[in-house]
Subunit: 389 residues, 2 copies
């Protein structure tokens, strides 16, 4: 994997770049839709190519359980398994340390949705499926209850077998409810594990894609000194790029507001010539702000999950296609959109499909939302080119 | 709608024909996949065009409830609503008189699946949602419990508003458990209603498609004299084509075996120059046998429903893609198939998607199964052309 900065904005830290991999080229800033289990929900790889997405992110934890990385390796890696000719990234399983651990037990995980206040959190608390040890993490499978011990070395081996173009070091994503002491311990483990990942990564025996790039992950929660410490330590290691980790989701109040500050503390300490991925973000309103701080890459389930819930992103704002009022509406989702859904179907038809439980509705909206996000990011790149951001 | 017989086989009653409509042309013998609620489950109209299907059949009863024929009329009819440039047929609601009536109360309806013997039928019995009167049928909506009275005149008006190319007269599909007296009464009502439908059909006020063709339906259950009577009466009416109705599904034992006999009694009494549609059939093994008896058209949920349950039709027989053994299998579903699924994905990938609950699995298999049925029918037409059937 190679990354080149092509242009820096005169107005901010925003920059244009390009990621070149064995499997495809990607202009940055860019957004990875999430294909958790080697499939972008409701679509197939042909659709992704038609929409024009240059990359997707898959989840190591889920693929480790089903169908296992050994199976995917036998099929020649993720690209061949999915038949996808683009850039693939895999996360490391580190986010699931949080989402299946304190995410569940504190009621703040993405898995339980938008839960901002203590009272609501109490209602959704569930037992943790995770035990963290110094050398790795025990996961209890959410599928069959079986126990899996994930270590930095194992995460790298699995990701080498999966064969993505961009892989991540195994980290401990801490909870927004953790105090400073807890956050610091998680960060220190993340640093130790990062070093172990780098060492494991040099051994290419398991690798189905010799041109993989390994990204290190900066942690440190909402604490300025911890973020600076983490960026300093991780930033000096020999990674091909960097992820900025943490639970920034809108569920977490403070930390979300704090996200831009975190980038201010962090980005200047990271290598200027290496790409920076803001993990798990984002919402449309996050992109410009964080790109101005120097972010190059994003991933999030947001556009695809919203699509499955009937919400379309349009140039006029969000539309909830579950509402019967749209049954009368002959317009496309967005007059300005040239995606295949908007070229072929009315709001009325899509609403009818949602209200009658047709799966096709989710698919048509997923196509549209991804097209919208792709175009949104393209316009941001244009702005950077013109020094307007 | 126009129908032309292009060639008759020298070996049987099989024939090649062509249906020409305002919206498309269809070679016969042909199979209509079922797009119950104006959507072929998991696909959209673009997919249908890509697969190369020349027609689909939608269900009047379901569309009457959601979104209503008035809504679809406002959008310019089904073709525009679905954005489908092909032949559309709608059934009349007559099959639902059976499936939501005795189908439920006797435990023999398609809605409850494959139920052959009395003991199994007892287990799945449910209250009927239907009350039959001399001038029409009361339906209790399976969605919200509201009551709808469907008459021959109303069925025609709704189908005129939907604007399909081929529509059917409102009939009373009897149950395979009905005795001769009951079957006879249902048949007589069907004949009275057929006449009323023809009269209603002449009034084109509601029609969004002035070139619609109306098919009459022959009933009479498993009784030779009733079938002959029905074919005689319906066959003499001024319909554009004929449906052969009845519950022939494999659930019904006797009647399924009797299906070929029924065609022998019936077909010779129907106008040679008009198309004959065997309603609700079929399975692959039904096609050649019934085409030899003179059938031109079919419709059935079988290929698409099986796809959603993980079953692929292949040149080697059926495969159940839910089985983990296929996770190792790098082959396409069918080596001989040139559908987009077989060109792009392995059995292993599709099985992985099924086992992890990805909707995409159902879609990929639906595409394949429809391609298989399309090709199957194409090969039958080729055989007829060569006088091999």
């Amino acid at each position: 994997m190679k990354f080149k900065v092509l242009k820096k904005s005169k107005k901010s830290r925003a920059r244009l770049g390009v990621i070149e991999t064995k499997n495809g080229v990607m202009e940055t800033p860019a957004f990875f839709p999430v294909a958790t289990k080697a499939c972008l929900k409701t679509l197939d790889s042909t659709d992704l190519a038609n929409i024009g997405f240059e990359g997707v992110l898959c989840n190591t934890y889920h693929l480790m359980l089903q169908p296992t990385s050994a199976v995917i390796k036998k099929h020649g890696g993720l690209h061949k398994f999915m038949n996808y000719n683009g850039v693939i990234a895999t996360d490391s399983g580190g986010f699931q340390v949080f989402s299946l651990g304190k995410g569940l037990s504190q009621g703040v995980g993405k898995v339980v949705g938008k839960v901002a206040n203590k009272k609501e959190r109490e209602k959704v608390k569930q037992p943790s499926l995770v035990k963290i040890r110094e050398n790795g993490v025990y996961f209890q499978s959410h599928i069959d209850g079986s126990t899996h011990f994930l270590t930095p070395e194992k995460s790298i081996k699995i990701q080498q077998e999966l064969g993505a173009d961009i892989i991540f070091a195994f980290d401990e994503c801490s909870s927004p409810l953790d105090n400073k002491k807890q956050t610091k311990r998680a960060m220190e483990r993340t640093h130790t594990w990062a070093q172990k990942c780098l060492i494991a990564f040099k051994d290419k025996k398991a690798s189905v894609n010799k041109r993989q790039g390994l990204f290190g992950i900066v942690q440190g929660g909402k604490y300025k000194d911890l973020r600076q410490k983490s960026a300093g330590v991780i930033g000096k290691m020999d990674f091909d790029g960097f992820g900025i980790g943490g639970s920034f989701g809108e569920a977490y109040g403070d930390l979300k507001k704090n996200m831009l500050n975190v980038l201010d503390y962090t980005i200047p300490l990271l290598h200027e010539e290496k790409p920076r991925h803001l993990l798990g973000i984002g919402y449309l309103e996050d992109f410009e702000k964080t790109i101005k701080k120097g972010i190059d890459l994003f991933d999030c389930v947001h556009p695809t999950r919203m699509a499955r819930h009937g919400v379309a992103f349009t140039s006029q704002g969000k539309l909830n296609l579950q509402k019967s009022i749209f049954l009368k509406d002959k317009l496309p989702l967005d007059k300005k959109c040239s995606c295949s859904t908007c070229q072929n179907y009315s709001r009325a038809y899509i609403t009818h499909l949602f209200r009658t439980g047709e799966i096709t509705a989710m698919r048509l909206l997923t196509i549209h939302n991804l097209w919208f996000f792709k175009t949104f990011m393209k316009n941001i790149r244009k702005k950077i080119k013109q020094d307007k951001l």
